[in-house]
Symmetry: C2
């Protein structure tokens, strides 16, 4: 007899903004309709005060924990972190995870149907910002009856949302845990994103964003992913994992360098990662989300960066990863130094930026300690 | 009256390998003809013992110093380093600089005319290795009457050639100065090169290498360059130089994100660098040279890396750059530790890998001291 799979979770979809109740975006547009895909784990108490908001990263989804009711093989991206007895303990907390505005996993985004044309928005979708994403999440938690949020937590672009939560809604957020993130997207990170976007837009199959009837710009999106992967991992990990090993045993086929018949394992790995993303992610969405990251700047329209971070008064746990080249520890320390009531902790890992999706033991220790305080 | 421009130099071209005297390449092919473009600065003494060999990097040329006789505005890429009273002093030494095998600045490469077809080789060019490049350079110095080489010096891919010089021709090389380089190309660096190559090969204008009658795969080559630029410089430099400044004063044009009308300065800078390379460099050549870097491994076919580096007995000055993310200082230190008679020195710079083309004062100090010993 097979063990029954527990923790089947359903991704729900709710329309939060309509024509009569549109969202006013940072770009100035009043935008609707907006559907939001979300999951919850654990029960909200009657006062609505035990919520935790989890924010996902660039290619993430609402499916953060448990097994998907639609695909029982699909386990949530932070499942080791969310559940009974885990750091985000579903016995104590009601954890809320939603696909952000502009995503392609159920929440309205560039690949959603534009009611005006009955075709996907493509480039007619407005450029949303991280703040816009957080405004939509706020509407969701209002709908769910949340009064106070114990903590908002997330890594990378998730961490950018976390910082904006503290700045937009300080009255309901009790603590924040931004992980391996940025208060302002750095020029190096912008450059990487721009190169990734050019890879997509250079692909003739992109068709200026109108590719939906023909299929994805596969080569371009795969290449964008590979550029990103080189910044998500570390030289050290690639060295340990792949070294200079080849796909073929016989060594280098000097005469067939460019026919892909023989490549280093690192190349094979990157290409595989590229192809994997093509199957699960929309190219225009990649453009919009990466651009939202580039625009991200908590000080924009508010004051100096130092002042703005200083205005965050709630307890904040900043998590850095020693091998992260994308959002280096110096950046995390700078944020921590500017937030008065902050603690900085560091994950030791060869996995680079991606360590926040891998090093659960170290993360668990820091997060559990912080939440217990 | 205008000051007379001194130091006009001529790039000479010589045929070093012919049908009756072909070069046996690592790939097994006996290849000819091979023309080599080179420049010399200073006089070779009658014993032929005061030569210095300078090795250039990926997109470099033989034109390392002085003003080109063909274009008086074109100053050599290491002019601050080579000349009277400079670290590579033309009063004492005869400095020899040549475009390497497979290059596109006068030495035979992928863009040269294939005598068999009377068209450019394109992908019919054999995949050369760093060792092949050095064998061609050896033939050049033999032709010039050089008996002993005071030092072989170069950064990046130049440094890879330097290491191979010490291993292939220990009897004539007296010292070496490898700068910001690799003894084996690392998987992270291979990954970056592979992404750059894919950018070129994804471009429909590449035509599987047969683009010469139509023009370059401009978008692809420009993108390849931008990927590389992100690894040649440092986050810190980009932060100091560009920050989050925009091209337009009015701020972000949220509604026109993808029409290139408004970009961050870092994006504008990278795109400009990409376009600049397209004007001066051949796309197929980029594929071949970057692949030669990936194949580079001083231990290949010889023994273990440690043994092979240990077998280098001549005085060696290893130069690392503290902000280099492509060939990090840990890699330079590892090389230095394995070469018995070596000295390690470090350049402090925000310019990342490119510092070997910028930080002349620090480089001059270390190199002059080393050469005087």
């Amino acid at each position: 007899m097979k063990t029954k799979i527990e923790n089947i979770v359903e991704t729900k979809i709710i329309r939060l903004f309509t024509e009569t109740n549109p969202l006013l975006l940072d770009c100035g547009a009043a935008f609707s309709p907006i559907d939001v895909a979300y999951e919850t784990y654990g029960e909200l108490n009657s006062e609505g005060t035990n919520a935790i908001v989890v924010c996902h990263a660039l290619t993430g989804s609402a499916h953060a924990a448990g097994y998907s009711s639609e695909d029982p093989k699909s386990i949530g991206w932070w499942d080791s972190f969310i559940g009974e007895g885990k750091p985000l303990d579903t016995k104590k907390f009601c954890i809320i995870s939603s696909n952000f505005l502009g995503g392609c996993y159920g929440t309205t985004g560039s690949s959603s149907i534009n009611p005006a044309t009955e075709k996907p928005y493509g480039l007619l979708f407005p450029q949303m910002t991280v703040r816009d994403m957080v405004r939509v999440q706020k509407s969701l938690i209002d709908h769910l009856g949340v009064q106070k949020i114990k903590t908002v937590i997330g890594g990378s672009l998730g961490g950018m949302q976390v910082l904006e939560w503290a700045l937009l809604y300080p009255e309901i957020v009790e603590t924040i845990i931004p992980i391996a993130t940025a208060a302002q997207h750095s020029p190096w990170a912008i450059g990487l994103n721009d190169v990734a976007r050019q890879a997509i837009m250079n692909d003739p199959d992109w068709h200026k964003g109108n590719y939906y009837e023909f299929g994805q710009p596969e080569k371009g999106l795969a290449l964008a992913r590979q550029v990103a992967m080189l910044s998500y991992r570390s030289e050290k990990e690639f060295q340990q994992r792949f070294g200079r090993e080849h796909q073929k045993e016989k060594g280098i086929d000097y005469l067939n360098q460019f026919n892909n018949s023989d490549v280093f394992q690192i190349e094979s790995y990157l290409r595989y990662q590229g192809k994997k993303l093509v199957k699960r992610f929309d190219a225009n969405t990649y453009l919009y989300i990466s651009r939202a990251m580039d625009i991200h700047d908590v000080s924009f329209g508010r004051g100096t960066l130092k002042e703005i971070l200083h205005s965050i008064k709630i307890p904040s746990l900043l998590v850095g990863i020693d091998s992260d080249i994308l959002y280096p520890i110096s950046e995390q320390k700078n944020i921590a130094e500017s937030i008065p009531n902050s603690t900085y902790c560091e994950i030791t890992s060869p996995f680079g930026h991606d360590a926040f999706l891998i090093e659960f033991e170290q993360m668990a220790k820091h997060v559990t300690e912080f939440l217990e305080k």
